[in-house]
Amino acid sequence: MILKVQFFAAAKELLGKSELDCQIELDRPANISDLKDFLTTHHPELTDILKTSTFSVDRQYATPQTVLNPDQEIACIPPVSGG
């Protein structure tokens, strides 16, 4: 399945774009942990920022076990620094 993932701040800058299509083929539904593995493998430039980043699914913070499908709005959330 193809997951569309949004990136912000340093992650966006390292990737060079704000959105990425991730094609993940597993014999079970992929979760956030699988997505992180995919990104680390295919985009090693994100390795460091992924260590401290979390993810959101449909605008809610997700856990490593959150199961993904292509209809969801998925985003990589590096440590936040608003205020």
């Binding site: 912000f8 340093a10 966006k12 920022i49 979390t54 959330i77 590096p78 440590p79 608003g82």
Partner: protein
């Protein structure tokens, strides 16, 4: 009132939105771009955000603070884009029947906003370098254990 704005923050409508006949106290907190952080000179801050989710998280904070401190009104406004030195990036107004609740809620709201709301600042230094500020905090989903600093520029961002 929850807003993310691209222009300078106007305090007049924020104060107006927080006023009420049942509020005996209103606390207004603002955070601004500071020139020096850990000896480095900042020329401007630039903010990125995940707007849709940031608004949802700010709304959650407003609801939680309103319930916990029985606030009469609660306003959260964050500016994004470029914020020059001395200008406000965030404003929080809390109104309550008596002042202790408004003060406590104000402090909690800015601390939680810095931990949970998907907004990021980029330092633009006088030496021409730039740096995204990503504190080495725990996941915002476990926000109670992550680090907080009480000023707008982050002190704990340096590698």
């Amino acid at each position: 009132m929850i807003q993310i704005v691209d222009e300078p923050i106007d305090l007049v409508p924020i104060i107006a939105a927080s006023q009420s006949n049942s509020a005996g106290a209103m606390v207004l907190f603002t955070g601004s771009t500071r020139e020096f952080t850990s000896g480095k000179q900042t020329t401007t801050l630039k903010y990125d955000c995940y707007r849709e989710m940031a608004l949802l998280e700010m709304e959650k904070l407003r609801e939680q603070a309103t319930e916990r401190w029985q606030l009469v009104n609660c306003v959260l406004v964050h500016r994004i884009g470029e914020v020059p030195l001395g200008e406000m990036s965030v404003a929080i107004a809390t109104a309550s029947g008596h002042r202790p609740q408004a003060y406590e809620a104000s402090r909690w709201l800015i601390d939680e906003l810095k931990k949970r709301v998907p907004i990021w600042k980029q330092e633009n230094y006088a030496d021409g370098s730039t740096e995204w500020v990503h504190p080495n905090s725990d996941s915002p989903a476990n926000s109670d254990s992550s680090q907080v600093c009480d000023s707008t520029n982050s002190e704990n961002s340096k590698p």
